[in-house]
Each structure stands twice: as structure tokens, then as C-alpha cells.
Amino acid sequence: MSTPALEIQDLHKSFGKTEVIRGASLSVVAGERLALIGPNGAGKSTLFNLVSGRLPATKGQVLLRGQPISGLAPQQIQRLGLARSFQITNLFPTLSVFENIRCSVLWQMGYRYNLFLFLSRLTAVNQRADEWVQRLGLQARRDVPAGQLTYAEQRALELGVTCASGAPVVLLDEPTAGMSRAETEYFIPLIREITQGKTLLVVEHDMDVVFGLADRVAVLVRGEVIACDVPEVVRANPKVQESYLGSALGASLQK
């Protein structure tokens, strides 16, 4: 068996006396799309923050393609090939759409902290950034500051800034949060298209998105992964149904 793209081993996180993540373990196979679901407050976003280095874990290990990344800074984890998006849009608001994407492309193309080259001369960088603007369908808004985009456009750019860095492992935190149904329907194929060939771990509330996108589904309840399998099996799992009992999510699971 090949090394998993991302492996979470017995991860713990406490805020004061409250333990939010209690020994979560999860293994994401290279190239698969794994959806992480769970009731509100289960710790999905916290788990993402632990994996991506936004928060330090109290205990446990995270392996990115076999390499331990616990305790590293976000930028170090990013450079090792893990990119993430945010549930609450997290862009460079005064920079244009194009500049936002370009910032994401620069490091991986080797320009780093360079102050002796002109951006306008970096043809390969600019070409790649423009390709991404096009893929996101934002070419008409290329030079508009990110802060002035509509919400749906910002969500698309959020996705673009995450993926344009070329990282092979991508974490998406509720990519369709706050979107209308029509916008979501347009958005899912876009996610599918631009994460092609990448390993994807996605937190999502919308069950249509989950079942439309994911190869496997993991269920996080009270800081523990209680099930991880193909959607049909997870749906039939009595433990999962129990934890969702009485919620709207539960109803959609039982459909």
C-alpha cells in the first residue's frame, strides 16, 4: 500500500479544559476526494486548523505524504504541498483578482523574497495567474480589488488562491458556505474541475455537495472520526444516523 497523502494520527486539541478534538484519526488516499461531515461543533474547522498549522495540536501527529508536519508554521506546511481555503473568505482585499492569484503562484515558481526582479517580466508567473483567472471565470473582474467582488465571486477567488499554488493536497473548508442553490450548482463542477488530480479533503454541510463530490465520507462527532467509508455505507451506518438524529442533516442522510 502506498503512503497516504494525508494521515491524521490520534490528534487531540484542548482549549483550556474543553477538549474539542479527542483522538481523531483519518487517512486520505492520494488522489481521492474525501468529505468531512459532522454536526455543528463537532470540531471540523478545528481539525482543519490543526492540520494546516493555524493552531498547534495538544497531542498527536499529522503526516503529509509520510512526512510529519505537526508543529510547523503554516507557510512551511504550505511549501510541503498542502493548501487550504477558509470558511470565512480570507483574501487580500485591496489587491486585484489577478494580484491575489499571482501572490499564490509566486512562491511555488521559485520567486520567494525576491526584490531584484520585476513582476511584469515574470512571463511564466503572469501567464499561469491569468490562466487561473480564466478557469475561475473571473476574467471580466481581473483588475477589480478582491474586496469589491460579490460574495460568490469571492468564494471562487478563495478557491483559486488556494489551488493556484499547485499544492497536491487541498483542504477546502465549506467552499459553498453562504451560497445560493443556483450558485452552489454552478460551483461544484468548478471545484471538481480545478482540483482534478489533487487529493481533496473538504468540509461541507450541504449533503448534495458531499454526495456529488466525494469518493469517501468521514464523519466527525465530538472530536472523533466515527466512520469513514463510501457514501452509501456511511449513510447506512447506525452510529452516524444516531448522532444526526433529529437534525436536518439527519433527515437528508436518511433520504
Binding site: Q75, A83, F92, T94, R102, C103, W107, Y111
Partner: protein
Amino acid sequence: MAARMRTLCWGGFGLLLIIAPLLFRSSLAHTVLSQMGIAIIACLSYNLLFGQGGMLSFGHAMFTGLGAYATIHALNAVGAGSLPIPVSLLPLVGGMVGLLSAALMGWLPTKTAGTTFAMITLGLGELVWAASLMFPGVFGGEAGIPGNRVTGARPFGISFGPQIQLYYLIAAYVLACTALLYLFTRTPLGRMLNAVRDNPERAAFVGYNPQVVRYIAFVVAGFFAGVAGGLAALNFEIVTTEVLSMERSGAYLLFVFLGGSAVFFGPVLGGVLMVLAFVWLSALSQAWLLYLGLLFIWMVMAAPGGLAGVLVQNMRAWTQGQWPRLKWSYLWLVLTVPPALAGVATLIEMLYHLQLNAEFDPVLTFARMPLDTSHAATWLGVSGFAVVALGLLAMAWRRFAAQWLQAQADMRLRSGDSL
């Protein structure tokens, strides 16, 4: 089109630097112009932190000041024959010392850009200033360290004795530093500095360590600040501990803000304003700091983009055809601002006169008007005038603000359409 516009702007800037001393020919004017050039470099270097990087520094005088001291010591070494460097290159010595001290002190404050950064730079600035008082051998104590710039080799007979020669040296530095700082904004690091200002967390998640980005910018800003300090040392031929003071650091912040921190050339205007205020306004009135404070407060509230922001927004309104509807509001402002300013200024001047000079002569002559500060009637009359004038200004301002907001909204809509 944009490229031609840029060539035009830089050409104009260079031309202005060349012909300015020909337009204003007195030796006082040449001193003032020299100071403006120095202030321009200092303000641009400050804005690399403040406007480009979102770092509110309260200690920028450290680097201009240390640069100045390094240069004056180097100048004296040249005079003593122990340092074979032409005087024209001495500001670079200041720059190197500014760079090294920024490199030494920069890592700690640049960890964050917020309040912590502001507080640490404040502390470091105070530290350096206190140290300057403790080591009179290096910093010259209260008397300062004097120097003589007419020394060393004289290529083409240039001795820098006459102010005009020094002015052109400063002008050359201004052009070079402005160009270099502008080019910096167009490099990968320059862009990432903006990204870190906007959102340091996201910058980390695209692979950049925000602290490293800020630190490099801090060091670069230290270099240019040191150059400005070095030029100041050559200009005044004396450096006193005042150059390291808190007031100096505060002045950079104040005038960069007044000039406009969001636009590249804003600090250039800020530098010009700074010298105008220090040289001209301070000679005009004892209450100049009060006027400056009022202007600053008004600017923060009404035009946070500074002078450059006001210019840029008006240019945009002009090119998008919004001026016809704004012109009456502007006319009203032009008519109501002078009387309101005159009213308020008269009151302030009378108060100052009463406090400071009334024992000698109760009559203040303001704008050729004799005003007897010992008579209640004068106070009533002036107050009444000021209140009416301010009322009219408030009405005109309200009208202008409403139309301005409307024009801004229309422009945003239209730019949305055209895209």
C-alpha cells in the same frame, strides 16, 4: 498609454527637481528646497512601512538620526584625511548604518504589524534617544556634532560650499531613491508586502513568512531613511540629538498621512508639506502646532486618503465626467472656506495674544486689522463672525459630502458596468 503616462510623470518630476531652484532663486528658497528633498526621501522610506506594509512605526527617526550621525562622523573623518570618500557619497554611509541598525533591531518588532509593532518601535526609538544622551562622545550631547562639508576632493570644482550645489546633489539622491523605492513596489517582495499588509495570515498560507517579508521591508526602509539622514547632516553641517527624538518620528507619521499613504507619490507631497509647515507656518504663527493638529484631525476624519487620495479621487471624478454636478458644491466650498478659516484663526491668534503678549500691548494686528484683545466687543464681533462663517461652511460641506458620495456611488456602478 499607461507607460506613456508614467514616462510623463517621471519626466515631470525630474524636470521639477531641476528647475525648482531656478524658479525660487533666493538662498533661503534653496535651503527650503534642499530640506524638502530630504523630507521626501524620509517620508517615502517611512511609507514603505506604513502605507505599503501596514506597519505603524513610531520610531523612524532612529534610522534617519543614526544615518545623520554616521554621515557627520564620516564627514569629519574625511576632513581629518582618514577616510578617502568623496563627500557626495557620504549619504550612502548613512544609508548603510540605517540598514545595519534596522537589520539589528527589526526582527523583534516585525513579528506582528499591529499594536505590538507600534509599541516596540516606540520603545526602541526612546531607547536610542536615551542612549544618545548617555554617550555625548558619539552624539555630541546638547551641542551636537558639527561638521564642514567643504572638504576632500573637488571633482569639476564642485565643493558643495554653495547651497545650490548641495541642492543638486540632494535632487539627484531624491530622484534615485524615489525611482528605487517605486521599482521596489513592482517586485515579488514588494507585492507580497502589500499582501502581508492586507492579510498576513493568508500570506502565510500561500507560502510566505509574514515576518520575513516585513523584516526585509524594514531593513530597506532603514537604508533609505539613513540616506535621508545623511543628506540632512550635509545640509545643516551639524547633527544634534533632536534628530533622534520622538517628535521627529511623530512628524514622519503625521506628514506621510497628510500627504497620503495609499498612493505612491503621497509621501512626496507629505515631505513638501512637512518643510512648509516647519519653515513657513511656524514663522507665520506661534499657534502653528495647533493648526497642524486641527488639520490632521480633519484629514483623518474627512479624507483618510490624504492629499494624494483627494487628488486621485478628483482625477477619477473628472475623467468619469462627474465634475459638472460637483462644480457648484465646489464653488460653495471655495466661497465659504476662507471666511471660516479666517474667523477661527483670528480667534486662536487672539487667545494666543492674550496669553503671551497682552502685557506689552493688548492690540493684536491680524491681517492688517487692529484687534484690541482687552475689549469684549472685539471678542463678540470676532466670535459672531466665526460662528456665522462656520455655519455657512458646515452647510456647504454637507451639500458637498452628499453629492460627493452620490458621485462615488455612480462611478462604482459605472465601473461595474464597463467591466
